[in-house]
């Protein structure tokens, strides 16, 4: 299908791609204006949706099997169905555009190059869940995208797709762009809601604060990822049945893989979920590893996903045995291999990388981004960073590697939000899979010598 669309030279989609969301990304003849969007069939699905029963839209999304593209992979239609049927409060929809998972860079292209796709997807979704006020919560680091979205919303308003009487119907809707202030935790939906309410983005405890029941201003709130909301438009366009035929069962549709790291041609690739294996991503889509290098490790779904080792073999419950290159890029197989498809951020690492350095880099990120609300993550994330700092600096002893793992185990499953897992899974998997290498970076002779630096300081002061 992409053959008829002229793309910018050097930006043509790979033959294995299936462009749905990214159809207009890098097009030579495309701009973010509403006129361009309408010329290319934009807002047709909105008109169709406004003539449909709301429940019918929700059913279509449910039947499509669309799973959230933000990281957790939760079925979008099911999420919409969690709004209490007896609800009398206003319903809010929030587009989570706080794309901050390291290794992920898909939403920014949608917002930069095809903002109206998101706006149309949002209006349809808002109509379906009866939301009359919606927000796009965009991270501070996307100032350009915020301006583009503001402009797109103004254009849509001028055309009557937003504001009073959307598309000439009795339905009113307003969408606002809200800019974050630079915190990863605002991507966590309840943290995002707190931030939107003007508070520190401390994630809420669940129960009772499930957003679909007690979300923004204690009202039912649907929080969806940018890409997920765009898919809604395509589900209506194609029909849920045809959409569900894309991908594999329970892993339907397309998704955008963001490949970074040690490959010849890193970038974004929209593929049918599960139709491409890890090996094909590296060798076909990305042109293979850099010359003379060997694959060492892959983080397959954003920095929080557990790392995979190049020589690992995965025995699945259905009897399949997969090597790392055979893993299809879908939600369920990734989970079966002990990691996750997450946000689609694939980080490839070759043999030039020090795993101690990598985990230290990740620990640095999580220690910096922990919101500090609950004890295990607040204290543990910095502790892990400090230990891995020493491993990298060569001032750690072998037992520090196990200590690192012990701290990670004390965080996982004990925190208010999923950040606990996000920061402990990398450490757990790196220590498990690259233990020998990390121990190799330590010095056994320091085992008995290392004392608490404060004790040293205290002793120095006494002399």
């Amino acid at each position: 299908m992409s053959t008829t669309i002229p793309y910018k030279p050097g930006k043509e989609p790979h033959a294995r791609e299936h462009r749905l969301i990214f159809r207009n990304v890098d097009r030579a003849d495309y701009d973010p204006s509403i006129d361009c969007y309408i010329r290319n069939g934009g807002y047709v699905q909105l008109k169709k949706a406004l003539g449909m029963e709301r429940q019918a839209i929700i059913d279509e999304v449910k039947k499509s099997g669309l799973r959230g593209r933000g990281g957790a992979g939760f079925p979008t239609g099911v999420k919409w169905g969690f709004i209490p049927p007896t609800n009398t409060k206003p319903v809010y929809l929030i587009c989570n555009a706080d794309e901050s998972e390291p290794g992920t860079f898909k939403d920014r292209y949608i917002m930069h190059q095809d903002p109206h796709q998101l706006v149309e997807g949002m209006i349809i979704s808002c109509f379906a869940v009866k939301a009359q006020l919606a927000y796009i919560y965009i991270r501070e680091e996307f100032p350009e995208a915020a301006i583009i979205l503001e402009k797109a919303l103004a254009e849509a308003r001028a055309k009557g797709y937003l504001g009073k009487n959307v598309g000439g119907t009795a339905y009113d809707l307003e969408i606002y762009v809200h800019r974050g202030a630079g915190a990863y935790i605002c991507g966590e939906e309840t943290g995002l809601i707190e931030s939107l309410e003007g508070k520190r983005p401390y994630p809420r405890i669940k129960p009772p604060y499930f957003p679909a029941a007690l979300g923004l201003y204690m009202s039912p709130t649907i929080v969806n990822n940018v890409e997920s909301l765009c898919h809604v438009k395509h589900i209506l366009e194609m029909g849920s049945e045809a959409y569900a035929k894309l991908g594999t069962p329970n892993n339907t549709g397309t998704r955008i893989l963001c490949v970074s790291g040690d490959v010849q041609k890193p970038g974004y690739f929209e593929v049918q979920v599960g139709h491409v294996t890890m090996g094909e991503v590296i060798n076909d889509l990305c042109g293979g590893l850099k010359p003379g290098r060997k694959l060492k490790a892959i983080i397959p779904g954003g920095s929080s996903a557990k790392v995979l080792r190049a020589d690992e073999k995965f025995k699945l419950k259905d009897g399949r045995e997969l090597g790392i290159m055979d893993i299809p890029m879908d939600f369920d197989t990734m989970a079966a291999c002990g990691t996750m498809a997450g946000s689609g951020g694939v980080i490839i690492m070759d043999d030039s990388r020090s795993m101690s350095w990598v985990i230290n880099n990740l620990n640095q990120f999580y220690a910096h981004e922990s919101c500090g609300q609950c004890t295990p993550c607040r204290e543990g994330s910095l502790w892990m960073k400090k230990i891995s700092d020493r491993i990298v600096a060569g001032t750690a002893s072998p037992s520090d590697v196990d200590e690192l793992l012990r701290v990670a185990n004390n965080i996982e499953g004990k925190t208010i939000c999923a950040f606990g897992e996000a920061c402990s899974w990398p450490t757990q998997s790196f220590v498990k899979k690259f233990r020998d290498e990390m121990i190799g970076d330590t010095k056994p002779e320091l085992e008995s010598k290392i004392v608490n630096p404060e004790t040293v300081l205290a002793a120095a002061n006494l002399v």
Partner: protein, 576 residues
């Protein structure tokens, strides 16, 4: 014991009960009970830091993580497996849950003991301690610190932490009465929630993030509301300490006495912490019909006069215009002689709304015995603050109404006029400073014989012919009726200095001296006699009042803090 069937008391409205298994034992609890409260009732203590029943539950400390399970949801037609008690077998969840914010459900299982719960506590405890300064030897909280207590129970005993600790501000001046040490703070947010939810003065908050999170006061603001010291009480560690109590005494040397605050008509229940003859601090004591768990700074800090060097410690008799030390016997004889030397209409007695019921009763007896008509009580009002402080600043105005049968302030003008016009020749003043109540020295000088009881040396004492050293609230037992009509009890925390005595003892001796009848040997006897005479106290004894008091009068007075607490409890925001 009688075998006759006792009448069934009117039963409270039925409450939905749910079955919960706690550490293997099935128990029933009212629906909606928080897991942590159910465990507490089952005597399975769940350690916690951030949870406070009077505040919202953010679930941030993670100390109360416990193992939880629910019966599996049966598929249609499926018969659930039952345990030996007949309850569906519990499907235990692999992950722990916080006990503070979750409510119980039918068939739920909770394990506060066992591997998972214990591992969680150990882990959280370790993490709380890694950046904590462990400066217990110089920390005021030591001895009543939850971090100390729980690390003894759940800690490692040894630190695995080999890194440098996070450095944060110390000795931060955040308000006139409260001091902050950020390194000790465990970020439980209790103080933040108190200032926002109870005191309506949200000046505290966190800045920075992650391990660098720092409690701080809002730029340009101070924690200076009249309830600020409650944050010190609820701080589980030594992060917030009281400027007043700081470094004054190790808490394990202190003796706690359950008593009342007498600084206004609310009668907030409190504990007086003392060592030997000295009071060191006063802290609120929970009473959900009076003060919840809070108290105002003004009330709790107003105790330094108890240990003041201006305390009167022996009776004084004025000889040739100069006070000379005397014995109680001499002083009382002198007063009795003066009272008997004039006509009842020439005597005036001025009482205080700060006197206990027992003192009021005995002074009323004296008034009756002497046939005095010139008596009044000095009123104090204007304290209401829409939180705890009552408009009436006398702690026992309802006692005055009940026992003296007068309104505080009634007849006061007449009594004062009689003094100014020298019609009152003998005046007895009980615990009040007349010069603060509006009289001047030259007016007092017109009195032929002025006797007064005082705690501290003051201008009225200066003018008195006989001065008696009185006991403070911290030195006596007795009862008072607060503004809501609740009869409550004061308890003696310390001994009075020198020869200072309880007013009731002096009044008894004075009655004996003027009328020759008596038979009262203890303050309990006074109450007993009073209960025989006054309908409101019928059937009561001083000890029967109990630590939380008894409602004995109907008043329309509401406690703003309690009203708001009830509302929040009804909404399920707090446990209450």
């Amino acid at each position: 014991m009688s075998t006759a069937p006792t009448p069934v008391p009117a039963s409270p409205p039925p409450v939905d009960l749910v079955n919960v298994q706690i550490n293997g034992q099935w128990l029933k609890f009212p629906k909606g009970t928080r897991m942590i409260e159910a465990c507490r009732q089952a005597e399975a203590m769940v350690p916690h830091y951030c949870y406070h029943p009077k505040l919202s539950s953010p679930g941030n400390c993670r100390m109360c993580l416990v193992e939880m399970g629910m019966p599996p949801r049966p598929t249609p037609g499926q018969e659930l497996e039952k345990d030996e008690d007949g309850f569906a077998k519990i499907g235990w969840m692999p992950r722990p849950v916080i006990a503070c914010a979750n409510t119980i459900g039918e068939g739920m299982g909770i394990r506060t003991e066992g591997k998972l719960s214990e591992e969680c506590r150990k882990g959280v405890m370790e993490l709380l301690l890694i950046n904590h300064p462990l400066d217990c030897p110089i920390c005021d909280q030591a001895g009543e610190c939850k971090l100390q207590e729980f690390s003894v129970e759940h800690g490692n005993g040894e630190s695995h932490f080999r890194e440098e600790k996070v450095k944060k501000p110390k000795n931060v001046d955040i308000g006139p009465r409260v001091r902050l040490d950020d390194e000790r703070c465990i970020m439980c947010s209790r103080c933040i929630r108190f200032t926002a939810e109870i005191a309506d003065d949200p000046v505290l908050g966190f800045t920075e993030r992650g391990s660098f999170t720092t409690l701080s006061v809002h730029p340009g603001k101070r924690l200076e509301n009249n309830y600020s010291l409650n944050t010190v009480d609820i701080c589980p560690v030594g992060a917030l300490t009281s400027n007043d109590f700081r470094f004054q005494q190790r808490v394990w040397f202190l003796k706690e006495t359950k008593s009342l605050c007498t600084k206004c008509g609310r009668g907030c229940n409190m504990e007086i912490s003392s060592r030997e003859k000295e009071v060191f601090r006063q802290t609120p004591r929970e009473n959900n019909d009076v003060n919840s768990t809070w108290m105002c700074d003004q009330g709790r800090l107003d105790f330094h006069f108890v240990n003041s060097e201006y305390r009167l410690t022996q009776p004084l008799i004025k000889v040739d215009g100069k006070h000379q030390a005397a014995t109680w016997k001499q002083a009382i004889a002198k007063i009795a002689e003066a009272l008997k030397s004039v006509k009842p209409s020439e005597i005036a007695i001025i009482g205080s709304g700060r006197m206990t019921n027992e003192e009021l009763y005995l002074s009323k007896c004296l008034i009756r015995v002497l046939g005095v008509e010139n008596f009044a009580v000095i009123p104090r009002t204007g304290g209401a603050d829409n939180y705890l402080r009552a408009d009436d600043l006398n702690p026992n105005s309802n006692g005055v109404r009940t026992i003296w049968g007068v309104e505080p302030g009634a007849n006061l003008d007449t009594v004062f006029e009689n003094i100014t016009r020298a019609r009152a020749r003998v005046v007895l003043v009980l615990g009040e400073n007349l010069m603060k109540a509006g009289l001047e020295a030259r007016q007092l000088q017109k009195i032929e014989f002025l006797a007064s009881t005082h705690v501290l040396a003051n201008a009225t004492a200066e003018q008195s012919h006989v001065v008696l050293p009185a006991a403070t609230y911290a030195e006596k037992r007795g009862s008072m009726i607060n503004v809501t009509g609740r009869l409550q009890k004061l308890n003696k925390a310390i001994e009075s200095p020198g020869e200072a005595r309880d007013d009731w003892e002096f009044l008894r001796d004075l009655i004996l001296a003027v009328s020759g009848t008596n038979g009262l040997y203890s303050v309990d006897d006074v109450f007993k006699q009073m209960a025989g005479e006054i309908e409101l106290f019928k059937g009561l004894t001083l000890s029967r009042i109990g630590e939380l008091g008894l409602p004995i009068m109907e008043t329309s007075e509401k406690v703003p803090v309690l009203e708001r607490e009830k509302e929040r409890k009804a909404k399920g925001v707090i446990v209450g």
